[in-house]
Symmetry: D2
Subunit: 245 residues, 4 copies
Amino acid sequence: MAVLGARGRMGSTSVGAIEAADGLEVVAQIDADDSLDLIAENGAEVALVFTTPDVALDHVRWCVEHGVHVVVGTSGFDDAKVAQVREFLADAPGVGVLIVPNFSIGAVLMMRFAAVAAPFFESVEVIEMHHPDKVDAPSGTAVRTAEMIADARAEAGSPELPDATTTDPEGARGAKIAGIPVHAVRARGFTASQEVLFGDPGEIFSIRHDSSTRESFMPGVLAALRAVADRPGVTVGLDAVLGLD
Amino acid sequence: MAVLGARGRMGSTSVGAIEAADGLEVVAQIDADDSLDLIAENGAEVALVFTTPDVALDHVRWCVEHGVHVVVGTSGFDDAKVAQVREFLADAPGVGVLIVPNFSIGAVLMMRFAAVAAPFFESVEVIEMHHPDKVDAPSGTAVRTAEMIADARAEAGSPELPDATTTDPEGARGAKIAGIPVHAVRARGFTASQEVLFGDPGEIFSIRHDSSTRESFMPGVLAALRAVADRPGVTVGLDAVLGLD
Amino acid sequence: MAVLGARGRMGSTSVGAIEAADGLEVVAQIDADDSLDLIAENGAEVALVFTTPDVALDHVRWCVEHGVHVVVGTSGFDDAKVAQVREFLADAPGVGVLIVPNFSIGAVLMMRFAAVAAPFFESVEVIEMHHPDKVDAPSGTAVRTAEMIADARAEAGSPELPDATTTDPEGARGAKIAGIPVHAVRARGFTASQEVLFGDPGEIFSIRHDSSTRESFMPGVLAALRAVADRPGVTVGLDAVLGLD
Amino acid sequence: MAVLGARGRMGSTSVGAIEAADGLEVVAQIDADDSLDLIAENGAEVALVFTTPDVALDHVRWCVEHGVHVVVGTSGFDDAKVAQVREFLADAPGVGVLIVPNFSIGAVLMMRFAAVAAPFFESVEVIEMHHPDKVDAPSGTAVRTAEMIADARAEAGSPELPDATTTDPEGARGAKIAGIPVHAVRARGFTASQEVLFGDPGEIFSIRHDSSTRESFMPGVLAALRAVADRPGVTVGLDAVLGLD
């Protein structure tokens, strides 16, 4: 494996996790001033990209051109960037690029299960809890979760969520994302937590994920690294890797 | 005991609970068309008032004038009404009137503990969860909880809650009540729940109360009925009855 | 619809739910002293069986012989009884019999999601919480959940759960069901709740279901009644009906 | 401040926290090979003792003899050791020794609130959750919590906890500590968590504490260091320091 952005927080944690994993090895650690040629020189067949958004796409292209499979952990790979990656791969049909917006297996399962459960309950709300240094609310994971729930309900023909609220002067009912209420808690002691609450008469069903360290992303990183060589072309998200599709 | 408003929801549930309780008995059930004289005729020493706000104050006066101790469960006894009750009692120093905004011992403990804990943590937020037919948000209990937390923090000289949020276009951060973030969830399956979340570096401390039936108010009703005769004058809230003052 | 065992607790709740549902109608309510002929006389195409275990199998046979689809809610339909139902159906290939051990959609989703998540986490434990009048521990749902988790882990080749406990004189670590730790809480205020806790370094993932009333089974009853006519032969469990298979 | 055992885990974390705290300063860091004279030479008025159980008592004596107030974080200060400390103080009436079995303010509040709430509910159970490398179950905090709950219920004349369990072949009902059911979960992802569940008809009341890092003990350490000089004699536990007595 080659790790690009090896001295960053996710990169350095990943280097440790890869070294500790059975059958995996880091042969090249690339950072800002290092040449990408080290990847090829050290015979890496798979690269893990955690470099900054401004250079990550170039790094992916270099890897594809050199026949190196890529797991992309850099954030911000939107539809436009994914399309560009697809172009890179036009001439390298055997190379796999796995773009992973969220390496947390727990978060991926939470979103997937939430989408499956969504049509079966009358009510649903999302509560996300993060440390108070976070500048944006709600979290990207909460937005994605709400969108997936809304899509699943729309597809199933679910009615609107019941809500008789007529008086809420201070906005206690929170945000509506794709029609789903989303609440953001900011409290010291949380790293990244989220709960999805479903309700029917006489029952509550909930799915919750609490993440407290970067370590919690490592199983997802390793699963991606192990799977990418067998998935030529572009894959977005861990779902396929986890067999959830 | 006499129960006023005996055919209402809280009144009728209370009649059952009193009859089932050791050493307590209902001797008079008064409703809209019944004469209050039944209270005296049946020798009730304590009255439980659940009549509507427009007549409850008159009922309290009648009881005080007839030397009957009163537990008031009717809502809306604000400072002005409490002052009136105090006047009624000027000529009846031995009579006790216990005004109880919330008969839920669990809710009273939650609020009290939240106020005690408030100065010890950097962060605090309140999440209340109710059925979706509720028209107002946040709940009265959540507002009271936030006020008690804010008072306790002010008294202790606690700093402002940390919150780096700069981007929250949809209002996911919820309401601020007395400076304390309050979130209101409305989902089928809840009756009345509330969680108070406290956070410090590396820890979360939480107090939660889930109430699913009117039955959950009965221990508070019985505790109030048992205590009122020994508490001449006006007492507001269950705290004193529970020994929490 | 015909409801057999219509005066029992589940039966009578179901009658109300069916009457309230769009497009469904109860045409026959059968109880202990009533003739099954009422089912045919009233033209019921689907029967819901909540009669006692000693007669339920006979009732299923009668329905199959008369071309009436059946949803079976009576408990205790083990492999032997299912085999008998299969025999009844040999001569009625168009008739559907749906045997449902658990009508709670929330419980079914919890078990299914737990099985899917099981291979992805290092640790897993089950905590079930019921009212203190329950005589057996752990609950049947907890046992079934643990078995499904153990099966999923075995199939994925998951290692044993980590547990360094050497000192536990009072048995605080609870039961081991198929190798999965299961804890049973008995406390007033719960009806039937269960939480499945998964853990990995730096993260906790949990799925929880709280059921407080029989009403919570009604969406499952209605889904079964709506689906059974389109599912000839024997089907066990709600999973297929919910599209989870 | 002097910190004894400064290179240990709690000692080194405390050194950092003291240096970061307003108005506090570390003037001496003592470890295995260092002379205690450094405490006096550097003018420390308060010592924080995290040395090993075999030497900690000697260190406390030295401090008391030299007029230095002591906060003891070393575990294992049982009644016998506390009695010895009391003897040391016989000739030093102005010196304070604060022995703290648990520096977690959250855990102390949890135990205290649990004891206050105990007489008000019909049911109570304790669930503690720790990492799977822990060798003993249940945790010391869970045992102490159960004892405090049992004492509070005994004092209030509470009846026995309701429990109809007659069948529990695998021990799912967990341990009974002082008559209170205690359950121990061991799962990767937890550091030290505990939930106390109270139940009454129609309601659940719960108090929960999740601790994920040693950092969470620092507010308790600082509160103890700030308070000890004003508390001559022996004080056991943080309760008095927190104003909970």
